[in-house]
């Protein structure tokens, strides 16, 4: 298609339109060169002279009283500098947690899940530390394990946490329920009478691991003022800081945190891992201490995606209109609360999906159990719900004899739809359009594996295992669409902070952007530089390392950073621009009348009028003056959901994606090959199109993993994790991953900076149910559980 954009100077110049490398361009990552040369310093690459290695001893059982801990042999080991247990914690603050401080830094009297930290060792070699930790003798007296809703809420159930006094304990029906959120709207009983068809379903979503590749790690360096400098991979520096400092008994300004290279996150770094442990060992020994988990430990060292049971009932009239929905969603939060309350909020408020249903009766709960703690993972709450409601949509369409996509389009929400929480959707919600686009994409050709030389097994189910040459292989196609909230919801003060500096360096205007945003791979640093170029009209932008010397940026999660910290950077740049123009007016106002009369912009290193006339070089305006300011920025406030009706304007923004999956299934061996997984998503405004597509493809692939291979398997009798390794917990390889065509829609949300929409999570939602639907389409099986395993397809 020809480029229809005008060239040259248009009659009306808008800020940023004339500066290269601004928003909307696919500029390249500022950390790209370091990352391809191996020089980028990840948290596990940190090194300090004289540093020690820390090791954590973890519980070998899921639920037990600790009878005794004997550290004497470990302490006597040559090369060991310290062994710490609960008894060594320096203050009265011995727990941490994101919302509820229920997680012990080190186990006290009891362990509540397999792999809970019990003791710490610091030694001069990692192997010495490991061997010393193995010499610590812990005597456990095992307790019965809580593993599901029935065992958690039985009349004689052992309480995972006795004496709860958190802010949810007053309204939950049982102390083993972290949080419960009902949502009631309309009259389900009455609406049900209008239904010509009713569909019920029970769905099981397995426990997924974030499986970021960079293991939890960091380096704590004790400082002369009695404080500590911590270099760590995390998603939210200031949230860590708030939890770390009280345990150490230090004021927050004596715990100086710097983000080191983060090897992926996906929610798994929202909770603390080794941060406090490394600081405790460093402060105790007076030496720098590095902790690096191996993959085995990583599976125990972070929270996972909540496994869930979902019970749904939907009704529809014979002309295809949804009448009502009832559901109960039971999320297993495991031993500690982590993000469970927020996951419950999302699961309940998004349980209807992107559809119009006026009459609903919804309940979501999260359990305390002795399973591994679960918390944040990409799309949380919404992912589990989407898997279930999309299966329901297919069942309803089939029962009505309607096309599955057309049935969805008929019931699709749009701008103006009222959510079950009573919140109106006040920006574009192009659900029907996304479905139309995904269906209109050309289907991949049949039997692509066939050639004149026979079958290329690499493209068949079973792949290089050479299990089929096409016999027993059938194709299926499936569709799904989802809705995710963007940003922190339910009244949370979800702000960010940006510090922007503008000055002349070596004869050029240079902007420096300093935020505490955790760059975890998503490309926030790229976008911040683009925003600064657009708003300040400069080429040179320096991204300052993220640390706690600037205000909080909030978390790199909930698809929020481009919206919120991007918004903060934009806001700070606008204020800096005003200051630069003030300086210009002061110094040069008499040179040209336009200084006083025209709207002035910064473009290409110059001050220009909105008519494109150049008034001055920024270099001459600033000379040796430096403009710098730090400002907090907030999106529109949200409200808590009512605890009995679930009503409230709880969400900031909604994000939508739709998928079409094409699969081929070897029905004899139960093997699945996903041939193509196409996605259409509305992104509001693609600030960096290359990165947007990368996010969509990455999220899509994590959804594919859940559909056909990913699950942490927990023994139901012992609550012990059975597969904590990449040998046993499988994530998609490049052979498992199909082509992922992406169709990006840009419908501006007028409430958001540049009209953008948070995009990171939505593609993780609909990917899984689309693949499931395609496998059902190929096999005719019901398949109500993730992941689909061979035995589910062969029936044996």
């Amino acid at each position: 298609m020809a480029d229809t954009r005008t060239t040259g100077i248009p009659s009306k110049v808008t800020q940023g339109s004339q500066t290269k490398g601004g928003i909307g361009e696919s500029t390249l990552r500022p950390d790209g060169i370091l990352k391809v040369t191996g020089e980028f310093a990840y948290s596990s690459d940190m090194w300090h002279e004289d540093m020690l290695w820390g090791q954590i001893l973890r519980s070998t059982v899921a639920h037990a009283e600790i009878v005794s801990i004997d550290t004497s042999e470990a302490l006597a080991t040559s090369g060991v500098y310290a062994v710490l247990t609960y008894e060594d914690l320096p203050t009265e603050v011995k727990n941490y947690g994101l919302e509820i401080q229920d997680t012990p830094v080190l186990a006290h009297g009891k362990v509540r899940h397999h792999g809970e930290p019990v003791a710490l060792v610091a030694a001069d070699h990692p192997e010495t530390a490991r061997r010393a930790a193995a010499k610590i003798k812990v005597e456990y007296k095992e307790l019965p394990v809580i593993t599901d809703e029935a065992s958690a809420t039985a009349p004689d159930a052992v309480l995972v946490h006795e004496n709860r006094d958190d802010h949810h304990s007053g309204h939950v029906p049982h102390p083993n329920i972290v949080h419960r959120q009902p949502i009631i709207r309309g009259d389900v009983a009455k609406a049900r009478e209008r239904a010509d068809v009713i569909v019920e379903g029970e769905y099981t979503f397995g426990m997924q691991d974030q499986a970021f590749l960079g293991p939890e790690s960091g380096l704590a360096v004790p400082s002369e003022d009695g404080g500590v400098d911590l270099y760590v991979a995390t998603q939210w520096l200031h949230s860590d800081l708030k939890q770390i400092a009280p345990v150490l008994g230090l004021p927050e300004d004596k715990v100086r945190m710097t983000l080191s290279g983060v090897g992926g996150a996906f929610g798994g770094r929202e909770d603390l891992s080794m941060q406090i442990h490394a600081c405790l060992l460093a402060l105790r020994t007076g030496k720098p201490v590095k902790i690096v988990y191996n993959r085995f430990e990583s599976f125990f060292g972070h929270v996972h995606r909540h496994p869930a049971k979902l019970y749904y009932e939907h009704g529809a009239t014979k002309d295809g209109k949804l009448t009502h929905m009832k559901c109960k969603i039971v999320l297993d939060g495991g031993a500690y609360a982590s993000a469970s309350p927020a996951v419950v909020g999302n699961a309940s408020s998004l349980s209807v999906g992107p559809y119009v249903i006026d009459d609903v009766d919804i309940e979501a709960i999260a359990l305390y159990s002795n399973n591994p703690p679960c918390g944040a993972m990409r799309g949380f709450g919404a992912v589990q719900a989407c898997f279930a409601y999309e299966a329901q949509m297919d069942k309803l369409a089939d029962k009505l004899g309607m096309d599955r996509v057309e049935f969805r389009r008929l019931n699709a929400m749009e701008q103006g739809t009222i959510m079950p929480t009573g919140q109106p959707v006040d920006s574009p919600a192009p659900v029907a359009e996304l479905l139309r686009r995904i269906k209109a994409m050309p289907l991949p050709p049949e039997r692509q594996w066939e050639s004149s030389e026979g079958a290329d097994v690499r493209q068949l189910p079973g792949g290089l295992s050479n299990t089929t040459h096409g016999e027993g292989v059938v194709r299926g196609v499936g569709y799904a669409v989802g809705i995710k909230n963007v940003g922190f919801s339910e009244g949370f003060d979800d702000y960010s902070t940006a510090k922007v500096r503008m000055e002349v360096i070596a004869g050029e205007p240079v902007a420096t952007v300093h935020t505490a945003m955790a760059e975890v791979g998503q490309g926030g640093v790229t976008v911040h530089a683009q925003i600064a170029r657009t708003e300040l009209g400069v080429h040179q932008v320096t991204i300052h390392p993220a640390d706690t010397q600037v205000g909080s940026a909030g978390s790199t999660s909930a698809s929020r950073q481009t919206y919120v910290t991007g918004g903060a950077v934009k806001n700070a740049c606008e204020l800096v621009r005003e200051k630069v123009l003030e300086i210009g007016r002061r110094k040069m106002g008499t040179y040209h009348p336009a200084w006083a009369t025209a709207e002035l912009l910064l473009e290409g290193g110059k001050v220009v009028t909105d008519g494109g006339e150049v008034l001055a070089d920024i270099v001459d305006v600033l000379e040796d003056e430096v403009v710098e300011l730090e400002e907090e920025w907030r999106h529109r406030p949200t409200e808590a959901f009512d605890l009995t009706t679930g009503q409230g304007n709880g969400h900031v923004q909604y994000s939508f994606a739709a998928h079409r999956a094409v699969v081929e299934v070897d029905t004899e061996l139960g093997l699945v090959k996903v041939i193509e997984l196409a996605c259409a998503q509305d992104v509001g405004k693609a600030l960096n199109p290359l990165s947007v597509i990368g996010q969509i493809q990455g999220g899509t692939t994590q959804g594919l993993g859940v559909a056909v291979m990913e699950e942490i398997i927990v023994d139901p009798k012992t609550a012990k994790v059975r597969n904590p390794s990449f040998t046993d917990y499988l994530i998609p390889t490049i052979l498992d991953t199909p082509t992922i065509p992406v169709d990006v829609l840009e419908l501006a949300d007028q409430h958001a900076p540049y009209g953008l929409r948070g995009i990171g999570e939505a593609p993780t939602l609909s990917s899984t149910p689309a693949v499931l639907a395609a496998i059902r389409n190929a096999t005719g099986l019901e398949l109500n559980k993730t992941p689909v395993r061979p035995e589910h397809l062969t029936g044996s």
Binding site: L28, L213, G264, G521
Partner: protein, 200 residues
Amino acid sequence: MRVNFTVNGRKQEADDVWEGESLLYVLRERMGLPGSKNACEQGECGSCTVRLDGVPVCSCLVAAGQVEGREVVTVEGLADFAKNRSCGGHEGGACGTSLQEAQGWSAKGTDSQTGEGGISPHATLAPIQQAFIDAGAVQCGFCTPGLLVASDELLERNPNPSDADIREALSGNLCRCTGYEKIMDAVRLAAARQSEPEGV
């Protein structure tokens, strides 16, 4: 135990190597070469892929003692390795920056679209490294070093790989961020650039 071997063309000696120590540990903790990554340490993820006498291996699975007298190339040496290969494998002076190359580079100036000096091809990157940046194949980047070493080896033995060839060659390298599409693009891009006639 003492181990003598060559890393990125340089003779190295590691003393007091413990019997259980992996090549990965020696590279990261003794040689100051942390580019090879430690994502699983059991040969499943490929993040620690290096060339051992030319063969791509997971350095976490190679005992340090096994590399005695052998040649190792890591991501840190990939640019030089690729450069030596492109001028016929001669080590040393013959492969310096040509005058023409140097002039071409300086003429591009220091415009900083990426915030630190280069939308223009970086002078010291291997073609596969530049292709990973250009194609958007790098997100968190933790899998990148291993993928670069594996991709470079693929293009060395198969300059014009099919998509199925690329997927097969890279099937031992896990990436959690990208969904692999941009990695496919990067390898295709490097292959296409490699097949362009000199000077175009």
